[in-house]
């Protein structure tokens, strides 16, 4: 126990406290800007079982803030690369890497295996998924989120306290908030905010201090100001989640990266040459397109049909009305396929535009 000597000699922790840490099981969702400092301090503190779930791989642009990774990790899965680094930091604990995406299908079974869930994800969809799964499995959620120079920290669902939905009931309107990891961020900010999350985890396990439950702490790195806001529990919001829990595993994550989704209007399409038109409607949907050469890939099959995408040509993705095509472009962008545009209008307008263009050429 020499490793933990500086903990044990604190009267607030002692041998008993350190044993509590060693018996604790903490799951960290996302090994990114926030996840890295959280994991680093929790592993060093001797949390007995640390779970890490992340489907993403380490990229050069991550190294500015994701301090568990080095250049030798580029291209590796983040959960696995983090596990490797953390095992070197502390070989006396058990670290489990889940190199996969957190989904409505795997969240409940996964959360049940841990005592505390830490949210270090980078999009609203996952944040609401994590929150709702914590309500259903009754696990405390140590939350943090960052934006440029500012961070928000709170502990939700702790000892019957409020949840994230009691603060922000619904996922923001599309386009209202940029929600992709491509946002600029001061490198040290997730370090500070993630360390606050690690601190909350330790306080919960040790039962010391005041847990940041029922409060949202806002931190601004530029003026070093903190602002604490009181949040009341909304029984209605929590009841809604519990009421829908039987359908939880049927829900699907929608990739939501609207602010980088490029849209194109039919008016801006002046040629049908050298372009790939991708129809993401389901195969049975009408009207069918016969006159124009198109590639038909229903949205549900897109992720597994990336090989049908022409990497050379400009791509215009369309559906019935321009909603699914936006999701499709997000999926393609995630798969590193460039030059994809979502058609603002829909299939009918494509057919009309093609007819007009053909007539004018004849």
């Amino acid at each position: 126990m020499n490793r933990y000597n500086r903990h044990i000699i604190l009267s607030e922790i002692g041998q008993t406290g350190q044993e509590k840490l060693l018996n604790a099981k903490v799951l960290v969702v996302g090994a990114g800007g926030l996840g890295c400092p959280v994991l680093q301090y929790l592993a060093a503190a001797g949390i007995g079982t640390l779970g890490i779930i992340d489907f993403d791989v380490v990229e050069t642009s991550n190294l500015q803030r994701q301090v568990l990774f080095g250049t030798s990790c580029l291209g590796q899965n983040k959960a696995e690369a983090a596990k490797k680094r953390l095992e070197d930091l502390n070989d006396e604990i058990s670290i489990i890497a889940y190199p996969e995406k957190l989904t409505y299908q795997n969240a409940i079974d996964l959360f049940k295996q841990f005592d505390i869930i830490v949210d270090g994800s980078d999009n609203f969809e996952t944040r609401y998924l994590v929150n709702d799964a914590c309500i259903i499995t009754n696990k405390p959620l140590v939350f943090a989120a960052i934006y440029k120079f500012e961070g928000q920290v709170s502990v939700f669902n702790y000892e019957n306290g409020p949840s994230y939905r009691c603060l922000f009931p619904n996922s923001p309107k599309k386009d209202a908030v940029p929600n992709c990891s491509e946002m600029g961020v001061l490198g040290v900010l997730p370090g500070i905010v993630g360390s606050m999350q690690a601190n909350e985890v330790l306080k919960i396990i040790l039962g010391i201090g005041n847990v940041l439950s029922g409060k949202l702490l806002c931190y601004n790195a530029l003026n070093s100001q903190t602002f604490i806001l009181r949040i009341n529990k909304s029984e209605t919001e929590i009841a809604k989640v519990l009421k829908e829990q039987s359908d939880f595993h049927k829900k699907q994550l929608i990739e939501n990266c609207d602010f980088i989704t490029s849209e194109i209007s039919i008016k801006d399409i002046s040629t049908f040459e050298n372009m790939q038109f991708i129809d993401v409607r389901e195969l049975h949907e009408l009207p069918k397109i016969e006159s124009i050469h198109i590639t038909s890939i229903p949205l549900s099959e897109l992720e597994n049909s990336i090989n049908k995408i022409d990497t050379e040509k400009q791509k215009v993705v369309f559906c019935q009305s321009g909603i699914r095509s936006k999701q499709a472009v997000s999926i393609l962008n995630k798969a590193n396929i460039k030059n994809c545009y979502s058609l603002k209008e829909g299939v009918e307008q494509i057919i009309d535009a093609y007819e007009v263009l053909k007539t004018s050429q004849n």
Binding site: G30, P172, V177
Partner: protein
């Protein structure tokens, strides 16, 4: 009454300031937001919660004076 308004995250980018004082004579938070919406039309498209004197409030809450803060959700990690 004079209200100190605090803006966070992307809301502060819209208002181009983090804090300002606004003279207000209405009753409810919804009235107060109307003033902000006319001053900053772009706010209508932004999602945020309102806190009065560091407590989350709804549109129907009465304005009591002091400080009102506009907090947007952040997604980044």
């Amino acid at each position: 009454m004079k209200i100190t308004v605090k803006y966070f995250g992307m809301i502060a980018e819209t208002t181009q300031c983090e804090e300002e004082i606004i003279d207000f004579s209405g009753n409810f938070i919804s009235d107060f937001l109307k003033i902000l919406h006319s001053k900053y039309p772009e706010l209508k498209n932004k999602g945020f919660q309102v806190a009065q004197n560091q407590e989350l409030v709804s549109l129907e809450t009465g304005v009591t004076g002091g400080e009102i803060a506009l907090l947007p959700p952040f997604a980044g990690g």
